[in-house]
Symmetry: C2
DNA sequence: CGGAGGATTGATGCTGTTCAAGCGTAGTGG
DNA sequence: CCACTACGCTTGAACAGCATCAATCCTCCG
């Protein structure tokens, strides 16, 4: 088999070095560099934190469990979801490096969270975290602001789930994911999709078949290119028009 | 026409005295008694506030407008919504006495808010409000918690919009509204519906026709009783089962 | 009485679901 | 190296739930 017969199979996604390793030599940074937090505030938090590592499919916490911890994701991706008694599932979102989980700091978790692949995060004991915040109004404000953005995205999702077609949902999802990847400094030509089709379906309020069909059609129309483990956004403009904000 | 021939038309909903009048004699309480806030914290806020009054259909603020204010509703009801360029609308929620609006305190409002009927609210200048919070970590925490609940309800909405049938949506909506009315101390036998069918439809991701048909069917099945301006929840258990949490 | 606006009801159609089969790749063991 | 399985994804055909279009009704109000 000559070197030229190597299949066109695109290169796997370059492994992004976990953020906590990017910082320097002697000091290990636990809180993801992708966070919105200023350095000083991260420094205030770090002493409280402990590392956690999860393998694929392991769960970080379950819905309605007592929320003893707050988390900051440092590498990998998680899915956040709720399940109805009869098994119907709504994936409320996905978490990536830099994201905080459990920020609302209620007594119990509002959703379940499990790992889509290997994940590292740092964990804060919730009560200690809250004590710290009481003395750091600036940091508290900042976390409040982050939560405000989360709430705003939740309203985007309501619009998407309540009023948009399948095509629009998929397009919006892809564009949104790309935007998020850019913010955390990942290459934006090709989108890694660490979640499966079923996760996407349960996120967008569709079935796996509809997701698959829509992906296929977008591929056929040269709007996207389906590659193993992700998609390449080919016709960015058309996607943007479809997601029609 | 004898007194007995007076139509069975139920009595109009008893006007709930605006909360700010319930407080005492010499001191006018601006912040709604229905708030979750402890008295001491309300006292800290009040000096900053100014009353606002709206007539039906007047708007309190528009989506993407610079958010110069934060509000606390004292009487009446508002609808909160977003609109797509092509006119599709998602009503993200309704606001009742005690509710805070604009609590995420981002630079711009995430949704539009307008009055479903006469409304009074109290307005806080956002920056002054934030300054005050910096000195009141307990109050800040409290508002954060309120926002946490809002986020949790937003996730309920995602589940509802993404995964539930029309019947379930209506049942869940009615049960949820009742629960809210109970919390703010309103009679719970008969539900006032200050919003129109179209508002409900745009809230639940349905069309006005589907909402109307579902209401009619529930009425026919003696599950609810449609009365002018609202509904009476007759078969509470069946509704609860339909909303199937 | 007449008009306006919201709500209801009916007939029809479409989008996305459901059910079912087939495909591709990865992993395993002979 | 090749079966064999497992799992996720894709594709097709038929169906259903809700949307759309359109007409009518009801109630409030001038």
């Amino acid at each position: 088999m000559s070197i030229h017969s190597i299949p066109v199979r695109p290169v796997p996604f370059p492994a992004v070095a976990p953020a906590y390793q990017c910082d320097g030599v002697d000091k290990v940074r636990l809180i993801s560099l992708a966070t919105d937090l200023p350095l000083a505030e991260r420094d205030a938090l770090e002493p409280l934190s402990r590392r956690v590592a999860l393998d694929q499919k392991q769960t970080l916490y379950g819905q309605d469990e007592p929320a003893v911890s707050v988390f900051n994701v440092t590498s990998g991706a998680l899915r956040l979801y709720r399940i109805l008694p009869d098994g119907r599932r709504q994936v409320t979102g996905f978490a990536f490096p830099g994201d905080f989980l459990g920020l609302s700091m209620l007594d119990r978790f509002a959703v379940s969270a499990d790992a889509l692949g290997p994940v590292t995060a740092c964990r804060f004991e919730r009560l200690a975290f809250m004590d710290l915040l009481r003395g750091q109004p600036g940091l508290m404000m900042h976390l409040h602001e982050i939560m405000g953005h989360e709430l705003s995205r939740a309203k985007d999702m309501m619009m998407l789930l309540g009023r948009r077609t399948a095509d629009e949902r998929i397009a919006t999802f892809l564009m949104g994911l790309q935007e998020r990847y850019v913010r955390i400094g990942r290459s934006s030509v090709t989108l890694e999709l660490p979640m499966g089709r079923l996760d996407i379906a349960d996120h967008l309020g569709l079935t796996i078949e509809t997701v698959s069909r829509t992906f296929s059609r977008l591929d056929r129309d040269h709007c996207i290119l389906i590659v193993p483990g992700g998609v390449r956004l080919v016709d960015h403009d058309r996607l943007a028009r479809m997601s029609a904000h």
